[in-house]
């Protein structure tokens, strides 16, 4: 069910599935997933008589498949899996396979609202994307790094436009890769293309390109920036201005360029994962001001905190100032995780932490964390009193007052709505 405004935001706890025991006839049950609204939990299951099915709130799909993997809930709550029947692969959505099937299918993706589902497909040795069951008209020698626009109306992938003979250096270095949008490839060919990304409206695509073994740049809709760099990382569109920003490497150090102009001087040992705030006025990125010491820089200015590793940067709205709320995780050797929000560090360290979630209207941040075998969440720096065997990603109500907690504990799947102030 989507949007979240329609979810049940009544405070309290409900049992979604009382028993997660393996039902009769099931050989094993794989990992559980929870729908975004918390109303359903599902897992793939292997049947004793052979074949796979899904258990959604304990109910098996009507028809089993020969194989099933890559289980995912869509943002609007449909349970999908890549399935194989009679040697052919397709996607099953709530148990219903797409009509068309393929030699192979993988990498399910959803539009932001979940109404569109896409997947990568291989058919007769050719590759492309398939959107809601309809494959691209043109398929390619290879297609990877597929991406779907937020509205689901467009999809892009890096495609190989020409066959390569074994170890043919000349042909490779002339450039056989491009980006295809909705099956239509750019005119330009490059030695390499990586991480195509759509703008907010799904109209434009930017990608990292390698022009020679040593020259990197960014191409937007097939047109090069004009400036080359020693290396680049993934480009991102400013949601407000449509400008494209990407980290670039100059003389051994990283900075940020926008539409080919340096906007953050290259003075970092590393700079990546940049994100714009929803209003496009701020940009944050994970940076390393010194070797081995990472932090977050907002508009080029690094925070004071330093960690050997910083991950999971998110930029949301800040409720109070209408600016940006920036959150990220720091850790030491993949342990001792800490949460950084707007330059401050929350108290407490965790064995693991997951990507922070900023409330839609701003003002609150929730993070799923784990200590030992138990998981819980931290909201605005306060630890939720209850622990679980497993919790799923947190979600705020649109007004930011309620927090949805989807958890599994002692063999029971729970849906808890808590007031953020008390969470």
């Amino acid at each position: 069910m989507h949007p979240p405004a329609l979810w049940d935001w009544e405070s309290g706890q409900r049992v979604i599935l009382a028993s997660m025991e393996r039902p009769e006839g099931v050989a094993w049950v794989e990992e559980f997933h929870a729908s975004p609204d918390g109303e359903r939990v599902a897992a793939l299951a292997s049947l004793e008589e052979g074949g796979f099915t899904a258990l959604v709130n304990g109910e098996q799909w009507e028809n089993p498949f020969d194989k099933a993997w890559y289980p995912r809930f869509s943002p609007d709550g449909r349970f999908t899996a890549v399935v194989q029947q009679d040697g052919m692969w397709t996607l099953a959505v709530d148990g219903e396979p797409w009509e068309e099937s393929f030699d192979y299918l993988w990498g399910t993706q959803f539009s932001a609202g979940g109404e569109v589902i896409a997947a990568c497909v291989q058919s007769g040795g050719e590759y492309g994307l398939c959107i809601d069951g309809a494959p691209w008209e043109t398929l390619y020698e290879n297609a990877n790094q597929c991406v779907l626009s937020a509205d689901g109306k467009s999809a892009a992938a890096v495609v190989q436009l020409e066959s390569l003979k074994p170890a043919d250096l000349e042909a490779f270095q002339k450039g056989v890769f491009g980006v295809a949008v909705n099956g239509q490839s750019w005119d330009a060919r490059f030695m390499n293309c990586w991480t195509p990304a759509f703008d907010a409206q799904g109209q434009h695509v930017a990608a990292q390109v390698r022009l020679s073994l040593y020259d990197y740049s960014i191409a937007v809709d097939g047109k090069l920036w004009g400036e080359n760099y020693a290396c680049v990382w993934e480009p991102r569109f400013n949601p407000a201005t449509g400008k494209v920003a990407a980290p670039v490497r100059v003389k051994g150090l990283w900075g940020m360029a926008q539409d080919g102009q340096i906007i953050w001087e290259p003075r970092f040992m590393q700079c990546w994962h940049q994100q714009f705030s929803p209003d496009g006025k701020s940009m944050a990125a994970i940076v390393a001001p010194e070797f081995g010491a990472f932090t977050v820089a907002v508009n080029g200015k690094p925070w004071g905190a330093r960690f050997p590793v910083v991950t999971d940067l998110v930029v949301g709205r800040d409720g109070a100032s209408d600016g940006a709320c920036v959150a990220a995780l720091g850790c030491v050797d993949n342990a001792d995780w800490q949460v950084m929000v707007d330059g401050g560090i929350w108290p407490g360290t965790w064995d693991m932490a997951w990507t922070p979630v900023v409330s839609p209207a701003g003002g609150h941040v929730a993070v799923k964390v784990a200590k030992g075998d138990r998981q819980t969440r931290v909201v605005d720096g306060r630890v939720f009193q209850r622990e679980f065997d497993k919790v799923f990603e947190p979600a705020f109500s649109p007004d930011g007052r309620k927090l949805l907690i989807r958890g599994i504990d002692k063999g029971t799947a729970l849906r808890i709505v808590a007031d953020v102030g008390q969470a």
């Binding site: 993997w69 250096l169 000349e170 970092f268 997951w354």
Partner: protein, 442 residues
């Protein structure tokens, strides 16, 4: 004497030098030396006393005792030494030889470290020479092709996204015949262990994935493999000198593990890949250490054995000898764990090679040398007569099996054993664990 007298025709090298001009050579050599090197190269080049002690270190020079151009210092002398002396004013023919030497006559094994009183790191110098060669576009064809593959599909064997998961699912199917209920859990978020391999495993050596899955299953390990690129931990770009691509690959690998929120990465029995994630690629990216702990299979098996999670139905008949791969022994100090695991698995003695452990001779395949392909194979085999002698000495004492926990060592030793008709078998630890372990029934 010298590289100019033993040039081997290679499509990649020839193509590369055909595009060079003296101006370009000079410009790029100096751009790399002044832009990318610093105190290390300066100190090394200045303080190397040319004492020649390192001649004793290198398997190439030990295998060519009459040819000083194979010694570590001799190799530097013919390459970086000339570049520094001439300020990069060398011709294309020189670059051809320099590239051949740097890519195919030095395995970057760093055995010479044990011989240099001053602590000159010849491996670093030769890596820098390779970096210059890469920047000049002069790289051997086959290794450059793997570098291209890395850049196109994030693995070294042109394995497409589907072929990866398809291979895993195929191995899973096969293994379920033997181990009902066995899973190769793909994309299992929060698993203890992220298991990564090199691309030859799904491409040619799928039995290794099968065996790994069987061991994980028997030991009850909470593990996962990713369904997306990043699964290949190998890194030929590290060896061609394409450090930008090396960084890209390592980033992809680590972020793949970070995305799945695993506790640590365990990698198959590969040495160079371990080096690339343990202390090379991560540093280029600005990480002091690997951002997710990485553990080589040798250490992982050792841990499983310590925890009593592997039980044997039988022992593997010895005696055996063990090959100490440079990247996990001289590079990580796993020599004792390797022997403890071997002792656990083998009924009979470990007949040691001499020298051994961190002083062991290289396989002559690592460092990207075997990846330079068939043109250089004879030179590579001839360059390791000492390894043949080491192996033959253990064979004389009854050894038929060489435990070799590294893909490159496997390749290198296989060619040496075959060339010298030593009649020895090469085994990965996982081969033996799989063969000897108690296989759980349904």
């Amino acid at each position: 004497m010298g590289i100019a007298e033993r040039l081997i025709e290679d499509v990649g090298l020839r193509r590369g030098v055909s595009k060079l001009t003296p101006e370009k050579i000079e410009r790029i050599v100096n751009a790399v030396i002044s832009g990318e090197t610093g105190a290390r190269l300066k100190a090394y080049s200045e303080t190397c006393m040319r004492c020649g002690l390192c001649a004793e270190a290198c398997h190439f020079s030990q295998s060519h005792p009459d040819d000083p151009s194979f010694t570590p210092a001799g190799k530097v002398h013919q390459t970086m030494g000339v570049l520094l002396k001439t300020g990069g004013r060398v011709d294309a023919d020189f670059i051809y030889g320099m590239a051949q030497l740097a890519y195919t006559e030095c395995n970057l094994c760093r055995r010479c470290v044990h011989f240099c009183p001053i602590g000159v790191d010849t491996g670093y110098i030769m890596s820098t020479v390779r970096r210059i060669c890469h920047k000049l576009g002069v790289t051997p064809q086959y290794i450059q092709d793997t570098a291209h593959s890395h850049s196109a599909v994030y693995n070294q064997m042109w394995v497409k996204d589907v072929e990866w998961t398809d291979s895993l699912q195929w191995q899973e199917d096969e293994a379920r015949e033997e181990f009902p209920g066995l899973r190769i859990p793909l994309e299992k978020e929060g698993a203890d262990i992220y298991y990564s391999v090199i691309a030859p495993e799904p491409k040619f050596r799928t039995q290794l994935i099968y065996q790994a899955a069987a061991i994980m299953h028997a030991a009850g390990v909470d593990w996962t493999m990713p369904a997306h690129p990043g699964w290949d931990n190998s890194d030929m770009c590290m060896f061609t000198g394409d450090f930008e691509m090396m960084g890209r690959l390592k980033r992809r690998h680590f972020e793949s593990a970070q995305r799945l929120k695993v506790k640590r990465i365990v990698m198959g029995e590969c040495g160079h890949a371990f080096r690339s994630v343990y202390d090379v690629g991560n540093r280029w990216l600005g990480w002091r250490w690997h951002p997710v702990p990485v553990m080589h299979a040798v250490e992982f098996y050792w841990e499983l054995i310590q925890q009593g999670r592997i039980t044997l139905a039988k022992k593997f008949p010895g005696p055996v000898t063990v090959q100490d791969p440079c990247n996990i022994v001289r590079g990580r100090g796993l020599e004792d764990k390797l022997r403890e695991v071997t002792r656990f698995l083998v009924d009979g003695d470990i007949i040691e090679m001499h020298p051994n452990k961190e002083h062991n001779f290289c396989c002559a395949a690592g460092g990207g040398v075997i990846n330079c392909g068939p043109p250089f194979k004879n030179q590579r085999v001839a360059g390791n007569e000492v390894k043949a002698r080491q192996l033959a000495a253990t064979a004389e004492r009854g050894v038929k099996t060489v435990i070799t926990p590294c893909h490159n060592c496997h390749g290198g030793l296989h060619d040496i054993i075959h060339h010298h008709k030593l009649g020895m078998d090469l085994k990965f630890l996982s081969d033996i664990i799989y063969e000897c372990m108690v296989k759980p029934a349904a």
